[in-house]
Amino acid sequence: MNLETNLCGIKLKNPTILASGILGVSKSLLKNVIENGAGAVTIKSISYEPRDGHKNPTILEFDSGMINAVGYSNPGLHGALDEFTDLKDLNAPVFASVIGKEPEDFTKVIEGLGNLDFSAIEIPLSCPHTPGFGTLAGQDSPEKTLEITKAVVKAAKVPVFVKLSPNTKNIGEVAMAAEKGGASGITAVNTLGPGMIINIEAAKPVMGFKIGGLSGPAIKPIAVRCVYDVYGSVKIPIIGVGGITTGKDAIEMVMAGATAIGIGSGVNYRGNDVFTKICNEMKDWIEKNNYNSLEEIRGIVHE
C-alpha cells in the first residue's frame, strides 16, 4: 500500500501537505516538516512589501479549535528571496503562497520568485481577517477570483492553486471561476468566520485584531462540505484543508473529493509528526477496509 499522489503533475510521496501559515517561515522549518513526513509543504504567504501583521494575541487555542489573526506578517518578496534558496535540497515539493491586493501585486511577487524552486503557487483569496486582502476585500467573489487567477496563471511558470473561503456563499461558483481562470487546482478551505472570543473579565475581545479566523476540529464538517461542493463543480484536483488531525479525517476528505490533504492546526494537536501519523493511519485504514488505493475512494460519496 503506498500513498503516492499525483497532484496536477506534481509527484508527492504522500498526499499530506503543510498548510500555509503554519511553521512555514523558514527553509529549515520546512525541512523539519518534510522530515516529519509531509508530502509537500507550503510557505507562509508572501506579499511584495514586508508586513508586521496584527498585534498579539494573534493565535490562540479555544475549546473546539484555534483562532488566528496573524494579519499576514511576512518578510516581503526580498525576505523570501533570501530565505527560500535551493529548495531542491529538500526532499519534497515546496509551494509558494502569494498574496496581494490587486492582480499586479500578485504578479510582481510571482515574477520576483520566478527563479526559486517552487513547485506550485497558491493564492489565498480567502483570508477573513486582513483588511485589503481575502474576504475583507471581496477577493472571494467569482468575478475577482477570475480576474486575479487569470493574471496569476499568466505570470506563473508552475501550477497555480486558488485557495477558497468557507465563508463564501456558493463556493462551487467561485471554484468554477478559478478553473475558468486557468487554475490547476483548488485549495479548500481557508479559516472560517471571522469569529470573536471575548475575555469577560477584561471585557475585551481577546485577539489583538478583535476578530480572527477559526481552524481545527470545529471547522471540519464545513471544510468537508466545501470540498464536496467544489468536487461537484470543477474537474481540477482539490487540496482539502480544515480540521484534519487524524488519518480518518483525511480519508473523509478524500471521500468528499480531495486529491491531497492540507494540515495546519493538526500540528498543534498532534505535533510536527502529524504528517507521518496521519499517513500511517490512512494506510492502516485502507488496508483494514480492503481498498487498494486512494483513487478507489476519491469522491466516493458522490456516487
Partner: protein
C-alpha cells in the same frame, strides 16, 4: 490553566532595582524551571515572560524596556493581567552544575538555582544598580562589567575559572545571546553539556506559527531551553533572529529593534 488568557490579580509588586519589578500573580501554575507564560495586557499586546517564582502565587520578573513593559510598570497591586501557559520545555536539573545568568536572565534560572542549591551560581550585570536577586542568592558569585559590586569583569571569565577546577559537568545559561554564545563556546572547549534559554519574538507560544524559529526549531516549544547538540547545529544562535515580520536579521539589529 486555560489555553485562552485568564485575567488574574496582581497581589504584590516588588521593585528589584530601578529598572526591574517582580509581579506576583494570584494563580498557581505547575511549571518547571525555565518555562514561560504569555502575559496579556488587553488592547496593548501579549508577550512571553519567564516564571521567576513557582508556587501558590506565580512571580514574573520584568525589566522595563519598551511599550509593553512600560504599561506593565504602570499597573498597581489589585489590578488584573491576562495570562496563559506554561509553555516551553524548561531546564532539566542535573548534578555538578554551574548556572550563568546575565542581567534579567536570572529570572528563568532562579527557580532552577533554588532547586539545585549545591550548584555554582554566577550572576553578572553591567553595573551595581542593574543587579537583582542578590538577597535571594547570598552565595551567588557576582560580577559586574564595571566592578561596582562583586568581581569586575564578565560572567564568562568567572565560568572559565570554575571549569578549570574540574568538577562541573553541566552549565545552564540565560542572558544576552552574545553572552550565551560565549558560554556555549567555553562549554564546547571543555566538553561540557550546556543548556541555554533562548529568547525570540513570539506569537503563538505553542509551536504553530514558526515566528520564533532558530535553525528549524521553535524556541517556544522545543525551547526555550536548547541543549548543546542542537546549539551546535544552529547557525543562527548568537548571530540572527527574526523581526515581527519574520524577516531574519543580525542579532544586533534584532536587539536594537527590541530597544534592549
Amino acid at each position: 490553566m486555560s489555553k485562552l488568557p485568564e485575567m488574574v490579580k496582581i497581589t504584590k509588586i516588588t521593585q528589584e532595582n530601578p529598572y526591574v519589578k517582580t509581579f506576583f500573580l494570584d494563580t498557581e501554575i505547575e511549571a518547571k524551571p525555565g518555562q514561560f507564560v504569555m502575559l496579556w495586557l488587553p488592547e496593548i499586546d501579549e508577550k512571553p515572560f519567564s516564571i521567576s517564582y513557582i508556587g501558590k502565587e506565580t512571580g514574573i520578573t520584568v525589566e522595563e524596556k519598551g511599550k509593553f513593559t512600560k504599561a506593565m510598570f504602570g499597573l498597581k497591586e489589585g489590578q488584573k493581567i491576562g495570562i496563559r501557559g506554561p509553555y516551553g520545555n524548561g531546564f532539566t536539573p542535573k548534578e555538578n552544575s554551574c548556572i550563568v545568568a546575565g542581567g534579567c536572565g536570572i529570572a528563568p534560572l532562579s527557580t532552577l538555582a533554588e532547586k539545585m542549591n549545591n550548584s555554582v551560581l554566577i550572576m553578572g550585570t553591567r553595573t551595581k544598580d542593574r543587579l537583582i536577586f542578590e538577597n535571594r542568592f547570598p552565595n551567588a558569585n557576582i560580577v559586574t562589567d564595571d566592578g561596582t559590586v562583586g568581581k569586575k569583569g564578565f560572567t564568562t571569565d568567572v565560568l572559565e575559572e570554575f571549569l578549570k577546577k574540574g568538577n562541573i559537568k553541566n552549565v545552564y545559561t540565560c542572558g544576552p545571546e552574545i553572552m550565551m554564545k560565549k558560554v556555549f563556546e567555553i562549554c564546547e572547549k571543555h566538553n561540557i553539556e550546556c543548556q541555554a534559554s533562548l529568547e525570540r519574538f513570539m506569537k503563538c507560544g505553542f509551536g504553530v506559527c514558526g515566528q520564533c524559529e532558530v535553525g528549524g526549531v521553535c524556541v517556544c516549544k522545543e525551547g526555550p531551553v536548547i541543549l548543546s547538540d542542537k546549539l551546535r547545529k544552529m547557525k543562527d544562535f548568537g548571530s540572527h533572529a527574526r523581526l515581527k515580520s519574520g524577516k531574519r536579521v543580525p542579532i544586533s539589529e534584532y536587539a536594537k529593534w527590541r530597544c534592549v
